[in-house]
Amino acid sequence: MAEKLEAGGRRDMFEAMLLMRRFEESVALMSKDHPFGHFHLYIGQEATGAGVLAALRSDDLTLTTHRNHGHVVGRGADPARALAEILGRADGLSGGRGGTLHLTDRSAGFLSTSAVVGGAIGLATGAGHALRRQANGAVSVSFFGDGSMEEGIAFEAFNMAALWKLPILYVCENNTKGAMASTEGGFSSSTMAIDELVKIPRALGIRSEVVDGADADAVYEVAAALIEDLRAGNGPAFIEARTERWPGSRPIWPDLSLTGITDLDMAWAPDKAAGEFAGWQRDHDPVLRLAARLSADRVLGQDEIGAMDAAIQTQLQAARDFAAASPWPDADLALTGTFA
């Protein structure tokens, strides 16, 4: 059984979550002045990404989806270049070729970010196949939403991974709770005949755990234990991280105004949360939950959290300026780069 994360690790995990949150707020803000098309935000799911990433080695490989910003930035990609990519600029992580749907930083361990539902599951399985052959204890991790479990590739890939004991951690971010039905003008909730998605991998003999996806400490502990097992050759494993969808991600176009820019003071003064979605902020917001707990555990004081936030805000202001000032790529580059 993996140990609990020590104080420094929890501090770093929180910092990654706060960076994800402020980054996504920056994306939403920039979408007003620089409309770049449809996009998906990771707000409300930071604890899942950060909890899993905290358990990884630098040589582990990661695959993610259209809801990728938090994973990519949280694992160390330069937020300025990530924002530039989302705007389609020359300084972007992929020179503007990928955009929000395909944010990829190979140097941070990401292979190719697929926006086809289920794509990351298959690719991570391939990465696991390669890593097993390389036999150095590294693992591959696939982040995907509950919708991916509706695609046939999920079953096919899980079966192979189980057959060949591949070192893969499948992380299903089940954010269906709180989703609006598509008929009401929002993203659809999951359309599955079962409500416990872990039943599917379990049927194939894959060790699978359900965890509160808004509780970073809990996600870390589950992920670290499973990954330790994967490194020992006992793969694959599956996590179903359950979160209540952030209200701003219920409509088809993300809406930051529903909950506003996160006020960290709500962590220690829950009464500051007001309005229609105060309940989500009080009970589900993973950033506020971990901030309150770190403060109660005397890992980080309110002042230290405030200073950390100020530093991140400064970094992101610079990132927004960098992205906005980054030039458009040369249009003729569109015609090159297909082949290695």
């Binding site: 600029r89 503007g96 990928g98 359309t191 580059l333």
Partner: protein, 323 residues
């Protein structure tokens, strides 16, 4: 007659068809994209809610379900949404739907309709802007409908839903809101009947889908250079109204083909080949293909624009090709 958007006209055609034939039912009810036309789906649900099911994100099984249901006597319409996602169901479409009638020696027919939105729409990047019409054309047994305007989609969807064959209706996200005068009454446009969208004498421009309106704009530009272009919309690739295209080329002596699929083995390539082999004697100059370059779609707006078949690029290519 009244002004209707493409999406409204398509909805009307569907409502007439569903009224007439209660076997027609819908798997996936978000036919009209993510934009303002999205609300029209509510009308369909209000009227025929019991004939609509909302599927999981399972394109492969959705298409299989449609094919199997069609074989069993149903008339399902399967909404894929973004056309690039039909690749998830490729085996079902290409291996099952297309060959079934032939391989059973006519014992079975597959009256399934697939609907999807293809093409560049801004920010689609590599996995949301595909134009699979040419790849489908390469697979036998599939009827391919590419409506270019509101008046056409209303009559074409009617015929697609009536067809006894697997029929793919490929719309374009950028067409959904485009309005024009459309007759209020019920009508059908037969599959395999091209429409001359503009008469002209100097060159035949064959265009599909969104490219029809862009080609018509290009034709106006070309008049100022003394070029009088004829614009033909085949409306369906399978069946293809070859006679209309050949008759036009016989008159004009020149041909350009404009379609959004990538250029190699494209719609433009096939129509060029048909005219080269069956209408060679009519041609006064080489056939011009105007299609998307053979590269994936980049996200960045100026790079995407570089790949876009615009009316300016059509006019330039035609003028240069005529020489």
């Amino acid at each position: 007659m009244s002004i209707k958007s493409y999406a409204q006209a398509m909805l009307e055609g569907m409502l007439f068809a569903m009224e007439e034939d209660e076997r027609i039912n819908l798997v996936g009810g978000s036919l009209f994209g993510l934009g303002p036309q999205r609300a029209l789906s509510a009308q369909l649900r209000e009227r025929f809610g019991e004939r609509i099911i909302d599927p999981p994100i399972s394109e492969s099984a959705m298409v299989s379900l449609g094919i199997g249901a069609a074989m069993a006597g149903d008339r399902p319409m399967i909404d894929i949404g973004t056309a690039s996602f039909v690749y998830e169901a490729w085996s079902q479409l290409i291996n099952e739907a297309g060959p079934a009638h032939y391989m059973t020696n006519g014992q079975v027919s597959v009256p399934v309709t697939l609907h999807m939105l293809h093409g560049l729409r801004g920010g689609s990047a590599a996995q949301h802007g595909g134009s699979p019409e040419a790849m489908m054309w390469n697979a036998p047994g599939i009827e391919i409908v590419l409506p270019s305007c509101a008046a056409d989609v209303k009559g074409l969807i009617r015929s697609a839903l009536k067809s006894d064959n697997p029929t793919v209706v490929i719309g374009h996200a950028k067409l959904l809101g485009v309005e024009e005068e459309v007759a209020d009454e019920d009508y059908a446009i037969p599959l395999g009947q091209a429409d001359i969208k503009r008469a002209g004498s100097d060159i035949t421009l064959v265009a599909t889908s969104l490219m029809v309106s862009r080609t018509l704009e290009a034709a106006e530009t070309l008049t100022s250079q003394g070029i009088d272009a004829e614009v033909i919309d085949p409306r369906t690739l399978v069946p293809l109204d070859k006679d209309a295209i050949l008759a036009s080329v016989a008159k004009t002596g020149r041909l350009a083909v404009i379609d959004e699929a990538n250029q190699s083995c494209s719609v433009a390539s096939e129509i060029a080949a048909i005219v080269a082999s069956q209408g060679f004697a009519y041609l006064k100059s080489p056939v011009i293909r105007i299609a998307r370059p053979d590269v994936p779609i980049p996200f960045s707006p100026p790079m995407e624009e570089r790949l876009t078949v615009t009316s300016e690029r059509i006019a330039e290519a035609v003028a240069a090709g005529i020489g």
